[in-house]
C-alpha cells in the first residue's frame, strides 16, 4: 500500500483530471481507492468464508463490509493522515446508513411481492372468504377489499372537511392563544397511537352506547388518525399560495371568505388533493383500531352501520390466526400474503399518485 503514496505525484489512474501536486495540498488516495478497498474487503471475506467454513452468506457480507471500512480508513490514514481518514470513515458510515434504509424497503417490497403474487387471480379478487375453511385453498379478498374501501371512504368524508377547514383557520385566521393551542394539539394528535384512537371510540361508542362492532365505528377511529395528518399537509399547501393573489383579491373588494373560496382554495387545489391522498394512504393500512371496532366476518357485509365487516388488514390478522388465537398454516398464510400485497399496492398507488399529482400541478410561483 505504500506504493500508492509514492505513485501519487505522478497522477495515478492515468485518466483522472490533472491533480494538483503542489506542496500546499497533501497526498490523496487515488480515485479508485474506494472501489479497491471494497474489492479487497469482500474478497478477504469470501476467502474467510471458505477457509473457516462459515454457513451463511450474511456473515460474509457483513464481514466484508467491515473489512472494507477498515481497509479504506487504514489506507487513508497511512497516506492522507488522520483528518482525511476520519472524513473517509464518516462518509462511509453515512453512505452505509442510506443503504440501510433502502435495503429493508427493497427487501420488504420484494418479499411481499414474491409471497403474494402467486395468489393473484381473478377469483382471488372476486370471491369472499365465506365457507372457506382454513384447511383448503380458495376464497378471496372481494369482501375485504370493498370493506376497506367503504371504511376508508367514510373516514375520508369525516376527516377531510375538518382537516382542511382547520388548516384554513390556522393559515388564514389563526392568531392568538386559540390558534397556538390548536397547532400544538394537532402536532400532539399526530402522535396518538392508532390503538388508543381505537380504544377511545370503543369506550365512547361501543361501551357508552352498548353497540356491537360495526364498520362506521372503525371509520371514526381512522378519521381521528387522519385529521392531524390532513391538517399538517393542507396547512403547508395553503401557505404556498402567494400572498399577492390574496392581496389582489382584497384590493378588488372581495370579502375574505370569498377570497378563500374562489382564490386560495382553487390555487392550492392540486396540493390539497395530494395532501388528502397522503392522509388517506396513511390510514388505509391501519389494523389496530379495526380489531376493536369492526371485527371480522367471512361473509359479505357492505353495510357499515350494522355488523362486523371484512377489511384487508383484519383479513390478514384473521388468516394469520391472531384474531382467534389459532395457528396458521400454508393455506391461510398464502391468503394473508395475498391480502397484504393488495393492501401495499393500494397504499403505494395512493402515495405515488399523490406525488405525481404534486409534481404535475406544482404551483409555479414559490
Amino acid at each position: 500500500m505504500s506504493t500508492a503514496s509514492s505513485a501519487l505525484s505522478t497522477a495515478p489512474g492515468g485518466t483522472a483530471p490533472p491533480r494538483v501536486t503542489s506542496d500546499l495540498v497533501g497526498a490523496r488516495l487515488p480515485k479508485w481507492a474506494v472501489y479497491g478497498s471494497a474489492v479487497i474487503g469482500w474478497a478477504v471475506a469470501v476467502g474467510l468464508k471458505f477457509l473457516l467454513d462459515w454457513t451463511g452468506w450474511y456473515t460474509t457480507f457483513f464481514t466484508g463490509a467491515l473489512l472494507f471500512v477498515i481497509t479504506l480508513t487504514a489506507w487513508s490514514f497511512s497516506v492522507e493522515g488522520r483528518r482525511r481518514a476520519k472524513d473517509r470513515f464518516a462518509s462511509t458510515l453515512i453512505y452505509t446508513s442510506f443503504v440501510c434504509a433502502i435495503v429493508p424497503l427493497v427487501l420488504i417490497l420484494s418479499y411481499i411481492a414474491v409471497k403474494g403474487l402467486p395468489l393473484f387471480s381473478p377469483d382471488f379478487f372476486l370471491r369472499s372468504m365465506n365457507g372457506v375453511t382454513s384447511r383448503e385453498e380458495g376464497g378471496g379478498i372481494y369482501a375485504a377489499l370493498i370493506g376497506t374501501l367503504i371504511i376508508v371512504g367514510i373516514a375520508t368524508v369525516i376527516a377531510l372537511p375538518i382537516g382542511i377547514f382547520t388548516a384554513i383557520y390556522l393559515v388564514e385566521y389563526g392568531r392568538g392563544k386559540f390558534a397556538r393551542t390548536v397547532t400544538f394539539f394537532v402536532d400532539v394528535m399526530t402522535g396518538v397511537p392508532s390503538i388508543v384512537a381505537g380504544l377511545f371510540v370503543y369506550t365512547f361508542l361501543l361501551l357508552g352506547f352498548g353497540m356491537r362492532p360495526f364498520g362506521a365505528a372503525g371509520a371514526i377511529a381512522l378519521a381521528i388518525l387522519m385529521v392531524p395528518v390532513s391538517v399538517r399537509a393542507s396547512e403547508e399547501m395553503l401557505k404556498l399560495v402567494p400572498r399577492d393573489l390574496r392581496e389582489a383579491s382584497y384590493a378588488l373588494g372581495v370579502p375574505k371568505w370569498r377570497t378563500i373560496l374562489k382564490v386560495v382554495l382553487p390555487t392550492a387545489m392540486s396540493g390539497l388533493i395530494t395532501a388528502s391522498l397522503l392522509a388517506v394512504a396513511r390510514v388505509a393500512g391501519e389494523t389496530a383500531p379495526l380489531i376493536l371496532l369492526v371485527g371480522y366476518t367471512a361473509r359479505i357485509n357492505f353495510n357499515p352501520f350494522s355488523g362486523d365487516m371484512a377489511t384487508l388488514p383484519m383479513m390478514v390478522w384473521d388468516q394469520l390466526g391472531k384474531r382467534s388465537g389459532t395457528t396458521s398454516n400454508d393455506f391461510t398464510e398464502a391468503r394473508a400474503w395475498g391480502a397484504a400485497l393488495t393492501l401495499v399496492l393500494l397504499v403505494l398507488i395512493l402515495n405515488v399518485g399523490a406525488r405525481l399529482l404534486a409534481k404535475l400541478f406544482q404551483p409555479k410561483a414559490r
Binding site: L107, Y111, G163, K256, R258, G285, N351
Partner: protein
C-alpha cells in the same frame, strides 16, 4: 475544493434571497414563512383588522363570520376530541384500578379474568420502553446518517427523489412490517441472535440462558426493536433533514474556508445547529415506537415478566397487549377495563413524549416540522 459547487445557490434560491430583500446574502433560517408571517401579511393592514371587507359593509361581515366560525369550529373539534379521549379512557379504566387485587404499577402478571383479578403494568411498561429504546439506539444514528446523506452528500436533484423513497418506507402499513419481521427477519436472524448471545453473552442483556441451538432463538425484544427501528427511520430522518437543510450557509462556508474536511464541516457546523432538531426528531420517533401495535404484536411472544435478556423470547408492550388480549377478554368488564387502563398509560406516555418533542421544536422556530 470540488465540493464547493454543490453549495452554489440555485436560481430559485437567488430569487428567494431577492424576495427577502437581502441583496447578495443567503437566507438565514426559515425560507418557508411560518403561520404568523403569512397571516400578518395576508392582505391585512399592520393592525390586522381592516382588510376583512371593511368597505363592503354588513352583509360581507356575516359571510365572513360564518366562514371563520366554521374554520375555528373545526379546530375546536380537534381540541374536544383530544379532551374526550382523555376523559373516556380515564372513566372507563376506573374498574381496572378499583377491582384489581394486584398493584397496577408493580405487578407483572396479567390475569384480569381471574377471581380476584390480578394484573399490573410493570412487565408491559418494561417491554414497551425496552423495545422502543432498542429502536432508538439502532434507528436514530441511521436516520441521522440518511438525513446527512440527503442534505449534504447527495446531489440536489437526487436528494428530492431519495427523500421521497425514504418517505415511501413510512407509507408501508405496520402490518406488513410485522409480517416481514415474523416470516423473513426472524428466521434469517436466528444465527445473528445466537452469535450475540454466545460471544457477547458476558454483557447480561445479550445473554440467552435457555436456547442452545440457533433455531431456539426467534421472537425477542431485540427483533421487535429492529422492526421498530426500521419503522421510525422515515420520520426521524425527515425531521433531521429539515433541520440540516436550514443550517446557515455562512456557517458552512466558514468551515470550508478554514479548510475543514466534509466531516469536520458537518461536525462543527451542521450537527451543533441541528442538535435540538435531532433531539425532537428522536422524541417523535420514540412516540411512534411506543405506540406501535400490530408489528410488535406479530414479532413478540407474550410473557408478562420483566426479562432483561433481550435475545430471549417473551416481552409485551402496551399496544400489543391491547391488540392480543382483546379477543380473549370475552366481554369481561374488568378485562376490558384493564386493557383500557393500558391504553390510558400508553396515551399519557406518548402525550408526554410528543409534547416534549414539540416544545423543543417550537423553541427554535427555525423550521416547520
Amino acid at each position: 475544493m470540488a465540493e464547493m459547487t454543490e453549495h452554489d445557490p440555485t436560481n430559485d434560491e437567488r430569487f428567494q434571497v431577492a424576495a427577502q430583500g437581502v441583496p447578495g446574502a443567503m437566507p438565514v433560517g426559515t425560507i418557508v414563512p411560518d403561520a404568523g408571517d403569512v397571516v400578518s401579511s395576508g392582505g391585512l393592514t399592520p393592525d390586522g383588522r381592516k382588510a376583512e371587507g371593511g368597505i363592503s359593509g354588513n352583509s360581507v361581515r356575516i359571510g365572513d363570520r360564518i366562514f371563520k366560525g366554521l374554520a375555528a369550529g373545526s379546530g375546536g373539534i380537534l381540541l374536544v376530541v383530544m379532551a374526550a379521549i382523555a376523559i373516556f379512557l380515564i372513566w372507563k379504566a376506573i374498574p381496572a384500578f378499583t377491582d384489581n387485587s394486584g398493584n397496577i404499577f408493580t405487578t407483572q402478571s396479567w390475569n384480569p379474568q381471574a377471581t380476584p383479578p390480578f394484573f399490573g403494568m410493570a412487565a408491559v411498561f418494561f417491554g414497551t420502553v425496552m423495545s422502543s429504546f432498542i429502536a432508538l439506539v439502532i434507528g436514530v444514528p441511521i436516520a441521522i446518517g440518511i438525513a446527512l446523506f440527503i442534505s449534504n452528500y447527495a446531489k440536489r436533484r437526487a436528494a428530492t427523489t431519495l427523500g421521497a423513497i425514504v418517505d415511501l418506507l413510512a407509507a408501508v402499513p405496520s402490518l406488513v412490517f410485522g409480517m416481514w419481521g415474523l416470516y423473513f427477519l426472524i428466521p434469517n436472524t436466528q444465527g445473528f441472535q445466537q452469535w450475540l448471545s454466545v460471544y457477547f453473552g458476558w454483557i447480561p442483556i445479550f445473554n440467552n440462558q435457555t436456547a442452545t441451538t440457533a433455531s431456539q432463538f426467534g421472537k425477542s425484544l431485540l427483533i421487535a426493536g429492529i422492526v421498530l427501528a426500521i419503522m421510525i427511520i422515515p420520520i426521524v430522518s425527515a425531521v433531521c433533514r429539515e433541520v440540516f437543510l436550514q443550517v446557515p450557509r455562512e456557517t458552512i462556508d466558514a468551515a470550508w474556508a478554514l479548510g475543514a474536511t466534509k466531516w469536520e464541516m458537518i461536525r462543527t457546523a451542521v450537527l451543533p445547529f441541528g442538535r435540538a432538531g435531532i433531539i425532537s426528531a428522536a422524541m417523535l420517533g420514540l412516540g411512534r415506537a411506543l405506540g406501535e401495535t400490530i408489528a410488535v404484536a406479530l414479532v413478540l411472544n407474550s410473557g408478562f415478566v420483566i426479562n432483561w435478556h433481550i435475545t430471549e423470547p417473551g416481552g409485551d408492550t402496551f399496544a400489543s397487549t391491547i391488540a392480543l388480549k382483546f379477543g380473549e377478554s370475552g366481554g369481561n368488564p374488568v378485562a376490558i377495563a384493564a386493557l383500557i387502563a393500558a391504553g390510558l398509560f400508553l396515551f399519557v406516555i406518548t402525550l408526554v413524549v410528543n409534547s416534549i418533542a414539540r416544545v423543543v421544536i417550537a423553541r427554535r422556530k427555525d423550521f416547520t416540522a
